[in-house]
Structure formats: C-alpha cells, structure tokens
Point group: C2
Chain length 366, copies 2
DNA sequence: TTGTAAGCGTTATCAT
DNA sequence: ATGATAACGCTTACAA
C-alpha cells in the first residue's frame, strides 16, 4: 500500500539490541514524528496538517483530509504542546498551588479541580508551599515560567509580590478558601459565617453553654478570622453562654494539650462545654489531645469540626462536622479561571458555597 | 542613572485606565520581556544573555556580566521554560499519574515526590486516573505531549499501549507500588512479603487463629496479590490457624457488609478472629462495616490495616497498622527518574522499602 | 570573550 | 483550497 520511498527511515539504528521482531512499529531511538513528517508522508504542506489539527476542516479537501488522517495514524503522530504553546500562547496548563498537599480538604478540592481540568483539556501542575511565603513565591514564579494560563491559589495568607507579578505575565488567578486583603483577585470558598453560625447554633441548641473555638494562629488568614468572628458573634446571642478563642500550634502536641487543659479548667464547671475546631487539621489535633487527656466526648466536652473527613463517623460515636462540597469547589475554580482566560472581564468574583452540618454523636444533646 | 534611550518603552499604552501613579514598574498589558529585550537593554547579544542564564560565567567578562544582571533585574525578566524546553529538549517537567488522588497513601507519596521535584528544579504535573484504563491512557498521552522528562506511575494495574508509547517519546518511567507483569520498567514500592508476614505473625502471636484478609478484587494488581499470597503463606505456618481471602467492592457498602457477615458466621467460633485489611481504603470500609454490624474491636474481631493513616489511633483503642515511609518513597521515585534522565542505563531497578508495624489496640492479645 | 545565524515544532500571514 | 515563509523565545554550532 505504502510506496517504499514514503516510509520514513524506521530502519534500525540500534546497536547490540537484537530484537528484530519487535512488535512496536517505531524504533526505540527514532526521533518523534513532527508535523513536517506528517506533511511529507501525506504529500501535503505543514500548513494543511496544522489546519487539520486545528479543526479547520472546512478549508480542506476530502482528499487531503484522508491523506493526512492516515499519515497521522501511520506515524502515530501527536502534536507537541510545547511548540504549540510557544507559538499560540495557549499552553492549556493550570497551576494548583496549595498550602498543604496532605490536608484532606486541599486534596478533595484538588480532586475536583483535576477532573475539571481534564474535562476541559487542561493539565494541572501541582505545587505545595507547606505554608511558606518563600516557597509560595518560588512556585508561583516557576508556574509563570511555564506560561500556565491560570493558577488556583490556596495562599499562605498574605498578598506577596510574586502574586502581583502574575498579572503582567497574563496569568489568571483565583483564590481558594483564603482571601487576600487589599486585593481584588477572584475568590471562591466557603460561606464561613453561615457555616459557623450553623455549627455554633447547633451546640447552643443542644445545651452547651461554655464554648471555645480552637484554631491555628489567626495571623490574618481569612477563614480562621471569619470563623472565629462568626463564632463569637453567635455565642453572644445567647446570654447564658460564653465563648473564647484558643490558638494552637498544630505542629506541637503540647500546644493543644495546654489549650485543652486551660479550657477544661475554666470556672463555669456547671456549664456543658463544647469545642468548635476551625479546620480538619485542628480537629485531628484536638481529638488526639482529648484522647491523651482521657476526656470523654461528648460527656466531658462536645466537639464539632470543620471539614468532613472520611473517618469522622468512626471516632467514638462519630464527630459532628461541617462538610463542604469540595468536588464542586474544584470545578468552580477551574470554570472561573477558564472564563477569565476566555476574556471574561466581569468585576471581581467572590463566590461562596454553603457548608452543611453533619450531626453525629460528638455534639449530642446535654 | 539609566539613559532615557535605554528604557524599553514602558510608556502607558493603556486606554481609559488612568492609573498614572501605578507602583508596578510594568504596564499591565506590556508583553513579557524576552531574552532579546534583555540583550538590547544590556547592550549585548542574545547569546551572551543565554550564556549568563546557563551559568557559563567563565565565558563572560565581568563587565558584560554586570550589565546583563542589572538588565535582567530592571526588566524583571525570567526565561520562558517552554521555549527553553522546545530548543533544548529539557522541560524539567515530571508527571505523576495516580490511580486515586484522594487515597491518603498516594497523597503522602505525592507530598514527598513534589518536594523532591522542587528540590531538583522540576515541576510536577498531576493526573488522576480514578483507576480507569482509558483515563490512564489519556493522561499518559497528555503528559507525553508536554514532553515531560519522566513519569511516576501508580498504574491501574495492567500494561497498556499508552505506557509502551512513552518509550519512543523518550519519557522515563518508574512504577510506584504496582508492578506490571511482562515489563521491565523500574519499580519502587513496599516490601509486601515482609510487611504482610510481620502483620500476620503479630496476629498469630497474639492468639488469633481464624484469620481473613480483606482486599479489593485482586485483578492481578501486584500489591494485592503479593499481600494475599504472603498472608496465606504465613497462616499456613501455624497448623491451628486458618486464613481466607475476601474480595470487597469498596464502592459498595453492602459488599463489605456481606464479607464481614460471611467471615463472622464461619464455623470455628472458638478461634479468635482477626482481619488484615490490604489497603487504607479497605481498612476504612472494613471499620465502617464493623461499626454498622455492631462488631467490637478487638473483642469480636482483631484488625490490622495496611497504610498508617492520621486517624488510626483515634478509632476505638487504636488501629494497628503497617506504616510506609511515604515521603522517602516519593523522593526515591524522583531520584530514580532523574538518574535515568541523566542517562543511567543500569538494568531494571526494583527497589522495595520495608514497612513497619505500628501496634495499637485493635490487635490486642487474646 | 563575543556575536551571527540556524533551528526546536508549531501556528499565522499572506500569497496563489 | 493550498502552500511558502516568517515568527514564538530560546540554545547552540560555528565564526570572529
């Protein structure tokens, strides 16, 4: 079928390797076929092949179309995205910068975002900052150097020059979960006020009166601040209730131990106590500390935690949690980015999704 | 300081936007500076700038070196990695293809791998296959189209054409956790035989005699097969003990319920029962099923699970688990890849790391 | 030590 | 409908 002259030198240049009857049609060290190879094999110009690739079918005769199609299949050709990106400025790359990759919340959102990226033909570059400003700076620069079209940023909590520098690089940015004060970047996250109110109200309604919110050092990180503020505001609506904030260092066990001891030792012994953990990590640290101290849930203290984790209902009689639609968040982030990439110039978007309370044994009625 | 003529037209071409006193030195819609811009600003050739960038300091006069350095700083220039990759064939990109991004095991390894990538100047592209052959095929193709230099593959379990196609594309491959029969790709994972033996022996030594291993359908997936085989072999060393395999569908609760019921109803009522869960996901499903059935751990049944999860010690009196050095695995994977990229042609590497048993209450002595 | 020029694999412009 | 040809931003012979 194929004239011998057309066959692009597949002849073995291998030395030593005597696999003469190799099933793979391509020699091990053959250079990858380029658009030029396809053009030659199909007897057309590179331009025509490019048109075929770009879907400009209308400007192609059925004749050539078939020739090209078959040549592509024969050579197992696939376009080089780097070259395409360089020329067209469309890399179809999206960066996901996360403060903590092992945080189940981030992972869950990442899951949704990755799926959305793939759905829309994008590929995700993942970077972890570990909560370090320096690293965040570094990875944002790195992503920009790859000409990603957009970045989803779960920031360390403050606006940095590295973020500002994305703008001239034409990289679209959307913030996840954490707002950046004084900036007007798009934002998507949880409706912290309502979610916190829901949880706090639930505790109050179930008879808890001496409340506390455990959080990582607020340090201006928006969800921590918002949750704390909403918690205190809600507690204030119940005259008989008190509420306080305990900041803990999640990397230091004794920190949580101390906070727990301080809270449990507080005066109002008669008032049923409960703790709202402001994040999944804090929930974990808190539960560990309570276990170490031999404090019973919910008998000695009620517990509600942000972020519904897979194991929430396995601990004790189950931990009451605030769930977030993480997959949906991931998809929303990508969609928002793609809209901007497509030229959407609407004013800053600030979209929040509602959390839902999943009531389990840890906040049982008192 | 800077002669006016040297300043590359920063002059505002903005229409409408009247931010005359903008703090950012670069106009919003200015094209990014290229190596040519730097060369012009520094009064040297592109070549010299490229040499500077490439660290060819020896071939550069101190004079020009400073000029270039200052020009780069002035323009806030950063090289375009796409262009560099296209020309040099070095993209500094590594793909991580994982069967299940939300699996804590994968996440933990990813954490280590991401850190290693960054350490060595690489950036990670993350793809999730959800265990689908088709998706694996698709994402491998996508990664190849970006000319990643290497891929870490947590495969769906079988060798596919998509994997074979990476070879002509000169993409290095290293398998994580799951071997691919009939292939000779580099492999790094857990020493399943020893880890399983450790866990099984522990159960036997603690008096359990009626054992079972719960696993997802083996389907030729190597860790599942190896763990099951090692489990059965170890059980066989104890004449008074019996052991069986229960395959469960982790996406269907009733599947685990049925398996648990079947195992618990089995004859040998006198023999203390214990279950070895062959993965973190299975452990989770198992614990849920036991909770639903009201079966007490370890009184009614002992439990040991693969993969040490953050919450392992919070459930009941703690779940005995087999921990893996996941961060180390991640780094090993990247190092292996980089070695191959650097031209290492050593024969197929098959490296296993030892797991360690973390003994908690779920396997207490009978 | 420095620079010129030719590509890397695409797409886009402009002819034809 | 089709095809030269010039970019995209960079590296690298090869010259000087």
């Amino acid at each position: 079928m194929t004239p011998p002259g057309d066959v692009d030198e597949i002849s073995g240049r291998d030395d030593g390797d005597a696999m003469t009857a190799a099933p793979a049609p391509v020699a091990l060290s053959a250079p990858l076929p380029t658009i030029a190879d396809v053009a030659r094999a199909a007897g057309v110009s590179k331009t025509s092949v490019s048109r075929f690739l770009g879907g400009a079918l209308s400007a192609l005769s059925e004749d050539k179309r078939q020739q090209i199609e078959s040549a592509i299949a024969r050579l197992d050709y696939r376009p080089n995205r780097l070259a395409r990106g360089l020329k067209r400025g469309q890399t179809r790359l999206i960066g996901f910068v996360v403060a903590d990759v092992v945080n189940p919340y981030s992972v869950a959102v990442m899951h949704g975002a990755e799926a959305a990226c793939r759905k829309f033909g994008y590929t995700m570059m993942l970077c972890n900052t570990g909560g370090s400003r320096e690293l965040e700076h570094q990875v944002l620069d790195a992503l920009a150097s790859y000409s990603v079209e957009g970045i989803i940023l779960h920031s360390v909590g403050e606006a940095t020059g590295a973020i500002a520098r994305l703008v001239p690089a034409r990289v679209k940015l959307v913030l996840l979960d954490r707002r950046l004060p004084q900036t007007d970047y798009d934002f998507i996250g949880l409706d912290n006020s309502i979610a916190t109110m829901l949880a706090t109200r639930h505790l109050l309604e179930n008879g808890y009166r001496d409340l506390a919110i455990f959080a990582e050092p607020l340090a201006g990180v928006s969800p921590r601040c918002e949750r704390t503020a909403a918690f205190l505001a809600e507690v204030a609506t119940e005259p008989a209730a008190t509420g306080g904030l305990f900041e803990i260092d999640t990397t230091d066990e004794t920190s949580t131990d101390r906070a727990v001891a301080a809270f449990m030792a507080a005066n109002r012994q008669a008032a049923p106590k409960a703790i709202l953990a402001a994040s999944g990590i804090v929930t974990l640290c808190l539960l560990r500390a309570l276990a170490r101290a031999g404090i019973a849930i919910p008998d000695d203290v009620g517990v509600v935690g942000f972020d519904d984790l897979a194991w929430s209902h396995l601990v004790g009689t189950g931990i009451t949690t605030i769930g977030q639609p993480t997959d949906k968040l991931g998809e929303m982030l990508v969609r928002q980015l793609l809209a901007r990439i497509d030229g959407d110039t609407a004013p800053r978007c600030d979209r929040v999704v509602p959390g839902h309370l999943i009531i389990r044994g840890s906040s049982a009625r008192r």
